[in-house]
């Protein structure tokens, strides 16, 4: 089931990024359909974070083109790209309570007070955070922080969300529930996302489109089956391992 949406929301063409003298991304090209999640898998240091930071405008690119909803954004500052980057850690602002963290982007956009209250209230319900709005981030659990960081991004209704191994620091149970929540909310709200992870199972759970990053080069798969068939992704190896473990 390739692509939940149809129109192209993100187009990356011939992207090169270097950090210092080291070429981190080379000739990276792919497209992401609107309202779908593009899962990118890769090991440590393969350039996953750099790819997301380049799309968000947080890391300068050397060459290439980035289009969001058909609009070239590579020359724009991060705040003008309409793309929200979610860090590996749920970095809630420590000086703001949960409500104000969720309302942060809306206040920047000078939305009316009543509208902010309604939208944050809806997010609190959708993310199962009701009753916690007055708490400071230090008083929230890991899963609650992650939901809040996700909600803060959702609040501004961006054209694109970039998720950098967002559930990596959570325990397995919370992690699975967050993956389910992400899928549910992203379907309900029609979110377009690039989701990078080193976890094979996670990529299959959240992704609609699939790619793998190896040594700075991006391999895009035609569909889920092609992703699973490629020995380099490790799906076959995992399947063989679990089959051997279950069978006597």
């Amino acid at each position: 089931m390739h692509g939940v949406g149809n129109a192209t929301a993100l187009r990356i063409s011939d992207l090169d990024v270097s950090l210092g003298s080291r070429r981190v991304l080379q000739d990276v090209s792919f497209t992401v359909d609107a309202r779908s999640t593009f899962a990118v898998i890769g090991g440590s240091g393969c350039g996953k974070t750099t790819l997301l930071r380049a799309i968000a405008g947080l890391t300068p690119i050397e060459r290439g083109r980035i289009e969001v909803d058909g609009r070239p954004v590579e020359g724009l500052a991060p705040n003008r790209r309409d793309v929200v980057y979610l860090n590996q850690e749920p970095l809630l602002f420590p000086h703001l309570n949960l409500f104000e963290n969720l309302a942060f982007g809306l206040r920047l956009r000078r939305r009316p007070r009543e509208e902010i209250a309604v939208r944050v209230d809806a997010l609190l319900s959708a993310l199962d955070l009701r009753g916690l709005e007055a708490r400071q981030p230090q008083a929230l659990s890991g899963g609650q922080k992650q939901r809040a960081a996700f909600g803060r991004a959702l609040a501004v209704e961006p054209a694109m969300m970039l998720l950098d191994e967002p559930f990596g620091s959570l325990d397995p149970t919370t992690r699975e529930s967050m993956q389910d929540l992400f899928k549910q909310v992203s379907r309900e709200r029609g979110i377009t996302a690039v989701f990078v992870t080193h976890d094979l199972k996670e990529s299959l759970r959240v992704g609609d489109q699939f790619a793998a990053l190896r040594d700075g080069r991006c391999c895009v798969y035609a569909d889920r089956a092609a992703f699973c068939r490629d020995p380099a992704t490790g799906v076959a190896r995992e399947t063989a391992f679990w089959s051997a473990s279950v069978e006597p």
């Binding site: 947080l58 860090n87 970095l91 602002f93 000086h95 703001l96 942060f104 206040r107 920047l108």
Partner: protein
Amino acid sequence: MIRRVGSVLRWLVVWLPIGLLGLWSVTRRWPWPALLPTQWQLSAWSDVLGTAGLGPTVLRSVAISTTVALGASIAGFLTSRSAARHARREGLYVFLHLPFVISPVVLGVSLDYLFLRLGVAERAAGVILGQGIVAYAYAVILLSGFWNERIRAFADGAATLGATGLQVWTRVLWPIARPLLAVCLLQTFLISWFDYALVLLIGGGRVVTLTTALYQYFASGDVRLAAACALLLVAPPLLALALHRYPRSTTLIDGWPH
């Protein structure tokens, strides 16, 4: 039990010398071996605040130290990010430590020569500049630790949520740095407040602050005046200690601390 003894000792270390200074400042006669003064008087305080003309000196000291603290902390906050992320920051930090490594007298004499040429020697502006150099170096060293990867991630996150460069500073970096900035303000204020050598050398005796006045009283052998003056001198750190012990809760309205 040990904790209780420790807290009593801490209390004594802080308050016993201050209590003794208070006693000396109101003592007329305190013959040995009496435990307390046998005769009392308030003339030292009336001298200090009245005839000795310490009122303007106190105001001058407060003005100089406040200017130094505000200038050094604001400039230090704005420039410490560049220092912390500079490719040659190690060398930069060695340079920033120089005002604390070399003798205050050598620093004062060197700056005095420079300030004479600039026309600010023997003026409050010169003292502020001289103390400002030391306080600024301290502020950059203290605040550089703030600019870690986590802070960078906060700023990046805010930018992708739509914050302009100015909004990242005012809505994220400044509020997060507030507790550290408060410490920086206090410390740089105290660097200036307790400074003697730079005031003496750059001020050339024409700029009198509370510290130089205190030394004059000590030199003249007037213990009562010196004690009263010393109590004025320790008032700011005591005030800071009291404020630290009883912090007010912070209310956030529209994302801004009030």
